[in-house]
Subunit: 324 residues, 2 copies
């Protein structure tokens, strides 16, 4: 009997790099996490990464063939295989394909983290069988991966799908990108924290939120308080949902997807987020589209999504290039 | 020597229907315009249309083979070949492929007017050789055609590409679609007229615009006055350009096109529109995209674009289906 095939999914984050071998059904066979050591050079990470990869694969090599590697990284570019000045990392410009191939010859594919998540949803998650969908990752920032006609939208240079930096409020809040009024400044974990602080200034309601410093506030606390009826926390969800729903409706006017899938930290709030977001979404939708576009929670387990997404990228590319 | 091939491009408008035979180089061989008679049934128009088509073709049939028909119509749907309740027409739901084939058996392809223009730009106009671009048609309303990876974006149901109905101002101006704050209510011929009237109320400056009733005002008058330094007309262009530039930047964040092509009545204003629009566009763009996306004027002659676009649809579909 022939061996089964596996790909390695690698998720490079600012502090940790997670990686694991994944089979074609989306099962993680074996996984590991190491520090990214982002302040040191990329080649130190890749030396460690390949060392651990060899060790892990030796444990399963009797049953599996190792066919390729997918890497998701901040600013990762599908066309060039590089990252350029990833945020919070001292890497400058690094070609991740070459960095991996320096230690091990194998097909390596690169994209950014949100795109990897979208491919993961398409192969293993909530978007299985869909040809047109959009994934929004609501974490510290807001990332997006857009699929049209079954293909991820990369645009001219691999950097398409930056819905977090569409302007939703001209002259609005400052964004880390240098512009103002970006969606990410409203609809993300950071965005809802900023909303809470603005509301603490604007509203007079008593709230335990008044005892928490900005830097100590997280989305979980806001959710818990909203569940207990805190007026400021509830209002913060309403404002977040309105911006998010409006942007989702605008995205539908662009590509008319079958579904929009929400992923990431802020979705932990569950119906506190989904109910008002769906309501705002339907309100802003063009009549023609109302009631026709599903809003779904991610079908990937949060802690495994990054590895699965990167592995899914490798599966998809190997298939496209007939390397399976 | 074999005959050359032609397709028939048909543009159905609310009052007139224009059609013409077009060769593969984008040359209109012979063309004609008849009344749409939108208050009567569609089959009356199609009987006339096919009668004229036969007469026109008989004049060129010694030199040309007639291979297919492309039809651009308001709300025209690529997937179904139908229009459903086209605005200002008493048609209800009509399948245009069947309506044409009732009188003449030949391959017929349907899309909406803005999508036809985008395909026209790709084959014969400013987007020749491009794989990723967006066309915005700035007329009475704002239509859009989006091309990603060389394919028009139709989405799940053929109605993708409605950028005129993205919300640019929550709780903003009423739009004909029933929503508020749609781009079309600001960046279109109608939009700039509305802006002028709001400015006449807000500003105190003297202006010949104060002598023109809303219903009599057109984009040409606003352009002429802006050229002569009228402060209200100039301000109206500035406001229009800001909304347009912002939406164009948001579209780039979505699909990172090589170019955005502006078409239609409002572009007759030339640099009065393009200069402030490009400035706003660059301001709102994510840093990553600045200076990289061209803003172009249509490469199609305005009066011929509708026929060329519809004919281009036929050429593209016949090619795809190996019917050439």
């Amino acid at each position: 009997m022939g061996k089964n095939k596996v790909t390695l999914g690698v998720d490079i984050g600012g502090t940790k790099t997670a990686f694991g071998f994944v089979d074609q059904s989306g099962k993680i066979i074996i996984e590991k996490t190491i520090p990214t050591n982002a302040k040191k050079s990329a080649s130190i990470l890749f030396r460690e990464l390949v060392k651990h990869t060899r060790e892990m694969f030796s444990e399963i090599s009797d049953r599996y063939d190792f066919t390729g590697v997918g890497i998701g990284a901040p600013n990762g570019n599908y066309f060039t295989g590089s990252v350029v000045n990833p945020p919070n990392m001292n890497w400058g410009s690094v070609n991740l394909v070459e960095a991996f191939n320096k230690y091990m010859e194998i097909p390596v594919f690169v994209t950014n983290d949100a795109n990897a998540t979208a491919i993961g949803e398409m192969l293993f998650g909530a978007a299985r069988g869909m040809k047109n969908f959009i994934v929004l990752t609501l974490g510290t920032g807001l990332g997006s991966g857009i699929v049209v006609n079954g293909e991820l939208v990369y645009g001219e240079d691999g950097f398409a799908g930056e819905l977090g930096h569409t302007c939703v409020e001209p002259n609005g809040r400052q964004c880390g990108c240098g512009n103002r009024g970006c969606l990410e400044a409203y609809a993300s974990v950071t965005g809802i924290r900023r909303t809470v602080y603005i509301l603490l200034g604007e509203m007079t309601a008593e709230s335990p939120l008044r005892q928490i410093a900005f830097d100590d506030l997280d989305a979980k606390v806001i959710s818990e308080l909203a569940r207990r009826g805190d007026p400021i926390a509830l209002k913060a969800f309403e404002i977040t949902a309105d911006f998010l729903g409006m942007s989702m409706a605008n995205a539908v006017a662009f590509s008319r997807p079958e579904a929009i899938i929400l992923f990431g930290g802020l979705t932990g709030a569950g119906e506190l987020l989904f109910t008002p977001t769906k309501k705002a979404f339907e309100k802003y939708l063009l009549d023609l589209f109302r009631g026709k576009v599903n809003v779904l929670q991610s079908g990937l387990e949060n802690s495994k999504a990054a590895i699965l997404g990167s592995a899914a990228l490798a599966w998809t590319e190997l298939e496209k290039k007939s390397l399976l």
